[in-house]
């Protein structure tokens, strides 16, 4: 097998050894595009090099031959060479490159002659600083002598204890070996581990004649896109930097300058871009150099694009018959859709004051408020506010609903604040290192001390918090997106439901395409004004008093359920019976103790406070996540679930009387054994029976404990449906409390690659996923009618959706803003795995 293939003469059988860059260059050269002359060194050379530490002698001979060909082709143009990696898949910025090889007094003189002396000097220092990087000379030492070639030369020799070869072959050999060695660097190994790429593959290299954008008039470099990368609008977009060596970032400009100075270059470029767009059936990006009015194409690849542009381009390509709908669906990054569906901060903003945890995507700006009443009042007055809290409690819920954004000191991605905010599409940043001083009405954010009424902007997508009110670009919904999602709906097998607690969330969900509510939490029905009633139920020892309080709660909830069922008429509404630990309905321990102390000091009555303090102490748990919550509440205080069931049934009855089509499903959380299910099912059956007419209510269980998955066969006999609560199932299966773990070790685990993905974002297939598969198999074995859904956060994550599709799940339920993402991801899963599970 040969090691070296010239760009213009690479046969198809060599292509698997050329890497991405080598393939592109040979394709472009064959198609007659003006690429620099050059050749590819196949990955075989790299593999031999990694094994022995040396470039094979045969390879080196072939390389020298090829360089001779380059020299011949160059004629009397000064010849410098570039070496770049060409790995089997794109590894952006991970591997090294070596440029300006062949720089020595002789070629520098030629360059000065060919162009100018300053140009030659810039080439000289660029060569040396590149070499310094390859030889790992400390960056700070290099910076001191960047403009002085001789000092830089001396520094490199001193630091690396090696002379710099003067001859072109010597420099080339060093460059090739350095780029090959970069395949084996720690950074590259880590990157490959994360992306599941074998270390043994190795990288190919390309070597090409250097072309110069900075050598004088009618020179410069730029990037052209065949369509607009931000909007997806048809027609090319060109960025051109006159006199520059390489495109510096991408700030969209137009082609005017290029057309003015080098009209023929501009014309060729536009031809090429249009031709590539048509050939590839995709928006393409071309990096180019204009060298004294001559066009050189350096790289061609599919162009990066915004989510919005991605959708528009895919739909347009279907419109022109270039790709089919299935291809279009697979083209768009489902996860990316999220960004176009939320407000975002316009580019060019100042640095953030602080960065916390991105808990609910989107940006929001507004006045700081510290409590729910202020938020509600501002909301009524139409003022945008950011609610700033230590952490959210049920007392704050009304405020969260009314605020434009939420910023908290404590909690992570599954914290109460995050869940509620994501459910309503409110941007939120949690777990931020801020100090909230409610007493003084102040918050310390980074170095600034701010008060109520001060303006801030938060970005829930990145976790950043900014001073002042930054300009926002509003969320985009486009016709193209609607078209794409319509195609997605025709393809997908997975249904997409929503997690929505309140009527307005349900309406939003339905508008976004939700086919049911997979999780309606009932916690908010116990919050606000009703907290006092809930506390009475918890605190009293008097059975009659408790029954009275329960009765009042029942009456209040009937309307809640009625209003929730109404917008979802004809679609399932899965109501989860109460889940959170009791202590969440009690005040903070420290607050109570303080109140008690001051009451004692002031000689005020203390009986009620003492009772409260005792209850707070009683319900304090060292691990509330594994404590008295979910169905366990129903065993210890049976009345709570009973009034929820009664109220929900009465709401169904009323909806029926109004001619509605309510589809109530009751869901029991934190079930671990069939005995618990028996207990609650018996109670529900009893109440359905007492309700007089035969109401149709299905009853199902959440699967959120490993044990529930392990005894799924038993549970399925007593369940109309399973709903996987993947948040808690992940916490228990992995033994990780998400709120604590994110800061404490999860970040380190992800950084060090001990975990590849955040298991709270993407389902852990080997652990949690295996339990899910077991539970589905055993559940359906005993109950083939069993409906199976997912109502954890993973229900809105594309990779997880792919897994759920394969596992035979019937529906995923996610927060309303994620519904478009889920619809697309479900379609992509169906296209990738046409005949899965069920």
């Amino acid at each position: 097998m040969r090691f070296v293939w010239d760009f213009a003469r690479s046969p198809p059988e060599a292509s698997e050894h050329l890497g991405v860059r080598g393939q592109t260059m040979s394709g472009l050269a064959s198609a007659g595009l003006p690429v620099p002359t050059g050749f590819t060194i196949s990955d075989l050379a790299c593999r031999r090099f990694l094994g022995s530490g040396e470039l094979p002698a045969a390879a080196w001979e072939e390389i020298l031959d090829a360089v001779r060909r380059l020299r011949a082709a160059a004629g009397d143009r000064p010849l410098l060479l570039a070496v770049r990696s060409s790995p089997p898949v794109p590894m952006p910025g991970i591997l090294g490159s070596a440029l300006y090889l062949g720089t020595n007094p002789e070629t520098l003189a030629e360059l000065a002659d060919w162009a100018t002396l300053p140009f030659a000097t810039v080439v000289h220092t660029d060569f040396l600083s590149g070499l310094a990087a390859l030889r790992q000379v400390p960056r700070h030492r290099v910076e001191g002598v960047l403009t002085d070639p001789d000092a830089l030369h001396a520094l490199i020799v001193e630091e690396s204890q090696r002379v710099i070869p003067e001859d072109a072959p010597g420099q080339l050999r060093e460059g090739i070996e350095a780029v090959l060695a970069s395949w084996d660097s720690t950074g590259a190994r880590r990157w490959r581990r994360r992306h599941d790429i074998a270390d043994e593959l190795g990288t190919a290299l390309i070597v090409h004649t250097m072309v110069f954008g900075s050598c004088g008039d009618r020179s410069g470099s730029g990037t052209a896109f065949s369509r607009h990368p931000e909007t997806g609008d048809p027609g090319p977009v060109v960025v051109f930097a006159p006199g520059a060596e390489a495109p510096l970032g991408v700030n969209l400009g137009d082609i005017t300058e290029l057309e003015a100075t080098s009209p023929e270059v501009a014309r060729s470029l536009l031809d090429i871009v249009a031709r590539l767009d048509d050939e590839h059936g995709d928006m393409m990006r071309v990096d180019f150099v204009s060298e004294r009015g001559e066009l050189w194409v350096l790289e061609v690849r599919p162009g990066e694009r915004s989510a919005r542009a991605g959708v528009r381009i895919a739909v347009d390509l279907v419109g022109t018959g270039r790709i089919d709908r299935h291809q279009a669906l697979l083209r768009v990054d489902a996860d990316g859709l999220d960004t176009m569906l939320h407000d975002r901060i316009l580019p060019g903003h100042p640095s953030p004051l602080i960065v916390g945890g991105p808990a609910s995507p989107g940006a929001a700006a507004g006045e700081i408020v510290f409590d729910a009443p202020s938020a509600v009042e501002a909301g009524r007055a139409g003022r945008a506010v950011i609610m700033v809290l230590r952490e959210t409690t049920p007392e704050d819920l009304a405020g969260v609903f009314a605020a434009a954004g939420v910023l908290t000191a404590h909690g992570g991605g599954t914290s109460h604040a995050a869940l509620v905010a994501r459910g309503t599409g409110t941007p939120a940043v949690t777990g931020t290192d801020i100090i909230v001083d409610v007493g003084r009405g102040q918050v310390r954010i980074g170095s600034r001390r701010l008060a109520a009424g001060d303006l801030i902007t938060i970005d829930g997508t990145t976790g950043a918090v900014y001073l002042g009110s930054l300009p926002l670009e509003p969320a985009v919904t486009s016709e193209a997106l609607e078209t794409l999602l319509g195609w997605a709906d025709q393809v997908r097998r997975l249904q997409v439901w929503a997690n929505a607690d309140r009527p307005e969330d349900a309406a939003l969900a339905r508008a976004r395409g939700a086919e049911g509510i997979g999780l309606a939490r009932t916690e908010y029905m116990f919050s606000g004004d009703r907290l006092e009633v809930v506390r009475q139920i918890i605190l009293t020892d008097d059975e009659r008093e408790r029954a009275d309080a329960l009765g009042r709660l029942e009456d209040l909830q009937i309307g809640d359920f009625e209003r929730l069922l109404e917008p979802m008429d004809g679609l399932s509404v899965v109501v989860r019976l109460l889940d959170p630990p009791l202590h969440e309905f009690l005040p903070d321990r420290r607050e109570v103790e303080q109140a008690l102390r001051s009451a004692i000091d002031n000689g005020e009555p203390v009986t009620r406070l003492e009772r409260l303090a005792a209850a707070v102490e009683q319900f304090e748990e060292s691990n509330p996540m594994l404590g008295l919550r979910g169905v366990r509440l129903a065993v210890v205080i049976p009345g709570i679930y009973r009034v929820q069931v009664l109220a929900a049934l009465e709401a169904v009855r009323r909806r029926l009387d109004q001619g509605g089509d309510p589809r109530l499903e009751l869901m029991i959380p934190l079930v671990g054994s069939v005995e618990e299910l028996h207990l609650i099912r018996d109670m529900i059956d009893e109440e359905v029976h007492y309700a007089g007419r035969q109401l149709e209510v299905t009853v199902g269980t959440m699967i959120e404990l490993p044990r529930a998955a392990l005894v799924a066969g038993e549970l399925a006999l007593q369940s109309d449906f399973f709903s996987f609560g993947t948040n808690d199932l992940t916490q228990t299966t992995l033994g990780i409390s998400r709120d604590d773990a994110e800061e404490a070790f999860l970040r380190t685990y992800l950084e060090q690659g001990i975990m590849r993905r955040d298991p709270f974002v993407t389902i852990d297939g080997d652990g949690v996923g295996r339990l899910i598969e077991m539970a589905i198999t055993e559940g359906r074995r005993v109950n083939p009618e069993l409906v199976v859904g997912v109502c954890g956060e993973h229900g809105g994550d594309p990779t997880s959706i792919d897994f759920f599709h394969r596992a035979g799940i019937d529906y995923v339920s996610c927060s309303p803003p994620r519904i478009p993402v889920a619809r697309l991801a479900a379609a992509q899963a169906a296209l990738r795995h046409p005949a899965p599970g069920r």
Copy 2:
């Protein structure tokens, strides 16, 4: 099939339908023992009754026939009948009975005639109060009229709205139907659910002529045991209550009184008892009545016995060739052994002040102390002390080791205090409703306020706390037990290892028969004086300072490991690398805050306190059970595990130099993924390599997270052994924090039968057990050499040991005091399941 069989004429083919009592009575009658005349109604009648709600007509005809035979046999003796349940397995006290049936003016007159009028009156009221119970007349109303037959009669009629039949057949029919119906009572259903007995089985009944122990001279009732039920000494023991109708409890007396008044009854009884002992090859209990000098045997069954007696009897029976060794091993209740191996409070003690959680068995009495230094000082002076604490922290460990007993306000069976106490065999009561006021040196226990130096007694078997120093019976070790355990060792396949942290525990464990240490926790190596060093490691940001502190810790630990390895020479010592969350090494949050406040008030320096407060805040976790602990510590602060490994390796080297045979095994806690295992294994391999000579160290992982069990195949490739940490595996699989749950809901779950057994005592086979089986199967598939042990508390529980044996576990590791229990239970498992798993 017939429904009715006379005791004396039941053919063998009927026996499966007679129930336990019916079988016994027919056996005794056939053997010529003086049982009352009577008959059995087969369980077929019960099943028909449960189906239709009526006694089959044919059955009733057969019953009336049988009653006619009883009447004929009675001659001119007044005939009253008793109906008792005869379920398929003993259900003590669960089902009803109906006595004195046939009581009416006529028979009462006959009884008065046959004996005395007061006797007849007692019979009358006994009949009526029994009937009142069957008809569910409220107990408090019955109590008011217990001595007035007419009023009682009227009350029953009023409450039940039914007359009382006067005729014997009418009363008999009501009695039979009531006892049959009791099979279907809530209590009976619940009992059966707990004991896995099908509801459909139904119960047989026996009906027999009543005999009377209270009808005058030479009458009375009693119980005879063929051997001593407390000690197991050979020879009969008889309790006799003259003039009483039924034996009232069992207070051991002698046969003197019976011999004096009825020598022929005494002689027959002793003959019968000796004969039964010989026939059954077991210690038998005979309930009897002497009716005017005539002996009637009412019931015969294997006698209840103390653990000590059980061992002695089983060994004696083998000595006389009556049973073989295997039978002897199966005869003894393994769990019961525990009681004979601990001190216990002598009977006849006062009521406890309070009852807390039984955390470590055995009784202890001593002076109250509130802190570790006092406990250590008292221990040195030879004074017995009970350490009373809010909860234990690593700072208290030395005190727990020195104390005779431990009493804490917080924590449950897996709390720190409980684990440490069980490991050292120190009695402990935890989670008690006491108020510890360390400041004032006082504790409120129940209604009493006690101070340091006051005497109390605790019973860690029951959780009771008593005022004063009660007399204790010391633990018994008997020759018989040693013999029995010797036989057990020959039979069992499971090895029994010990959980032992310190040299003295290891020595004790080896003396009790431990074949290795399956869990040596290293937490105590970070406690006491060393806490300051540990805090330095946690608090500092200076890498050099941390390295210094780590170095000091390493030096200190070398001796610890050396001393631990020495007593276990030639046996495995599994050292678990550090497991607990970091905050356990920091002071209590409230203490630090208080100290900080008072320092500020007094103008004292606060820098260190502020740093401490910040660290306490940083490491505070909402769910520490699922937080930064175990192997996660090693990822975040790599130095901690490295110094443990270095110190352990150095200890091995030193032991080898001393000619010892150290068998170190390193165990990594809380592993959830193979990547974690890689990380630590790599570090250990590196250090083993650096250690110069090739030290043999095996490395294994705990399986205590569901995910670890689910990816066991991957883990097994990197593990020499698995050790199931069943405490944590139960907590995560079931989603139950044991400490919180016991009080909050676990007790309710057990009481209501939602759980049959406490999953923290007996392994949950369907959930946790299934994970264990999966992990063993997959682990051994990829690594057939894999050694598999259990080091959770379940390792000392007989039912769990049976499961582990079947699952193919290699060894169980339990606290040293449980070793005899585990040796016997392992033998029993091997006898019950001769060819399991491996």
